[in-house]
């Protein structure tokens, strides 16, 4: 596919994969790196807290971003006829589902 034709496929697959990968990264704590704000240090992958809390949010975004980037590039290689059948609505439906998932996972904060 040409770049112009491939981009919508990339964008849809990126949005879908990123949302799914982010939920999994948060739930399973697959952070690419850890930040220790109290001592202003980064650590590779998931590390336990050191002299204060550990922050994994940046690492979860990095994990999801890399997974989505790889999936998006691979999706650009599929035949054009198959790519044309990809529903554009997946680009919002899966992220919205991910947001509902977080609402469910964090419901404990609102029911105490």
């Amino acid at each position: 596919m040409t770049t112009a034709r491939a981009f919508p496929v990339f964008a849809i697959v990126f949005a879908v994969t990123y949302a799914v990968a982010y939920v999994i990264a948060v739930e399973q704590n697959y952070a690419l790196f850890t930040y220790h704000p109290a001592i202003e240090e980064f650590g590779f992958l998931v590390e336990p807290p050191r002299e204060g809390p550990a922050m994994y949010w940046y690492g979860w975004i990095a994990t999801a971003g890399i997974v989505a980037l790889v999936a998006g590039v691979i999706a650009c290689l599929v035949p054009e006829q198959m790519a044309k059948r990809l529903w554009s609505g997946w680009s919002w439906a899966v992220p919205v589902a991910a947001m509902f998932a977080f609402g469910y996972l964090l419901r404990g904060f609102f029911t105490r």
Binding site: F7, F14, A64, G72, S91, F102
Partner: protein
Amino acid sequence: MSTTFLLIVHGLLAVALLGAVTHQAVSVWLPIHKPANSFVERVRGVQAGSYATAIIVLYLATATLGGIIYPAYRLGIRVVIEQLEMWSANGAFELKEHFVAVGLGVLPAYWYYWRKPLAEDQIRTRAILTGVLAFIVWWSFLVGHILNNIRGFGS
């Protein structure tokens, strides 16, 4: 640079983003097909496409700045909110961080669906993506505002 200064810049960027995405969302969901005669009609009748790039830049800038000041929140504010047992406020911020992160993933699609004439189903996709981003921005703005009211600006 002081966290308070960065927090103020973060807030100002958020205001600009809120205004842009609200204009765009209103014009997409409540379009007007006649010359605008009132303030509300002019809001509905803006050139929505012209906001897309600005919204992406503002979203990235606001989220990046939020990420820079996040450690100060984690160390100095969240601990206090937990001690005060303000679980709803804490949970609202947790949702904010996840919603903003999810929003980052839809930006390429949002950009694509605002840059060319589209088929009917893609127009719907564009409208919903705009609505999703508008919801994320409104949620984040309100939650950030509430938390700042609880414990902000060097309190």
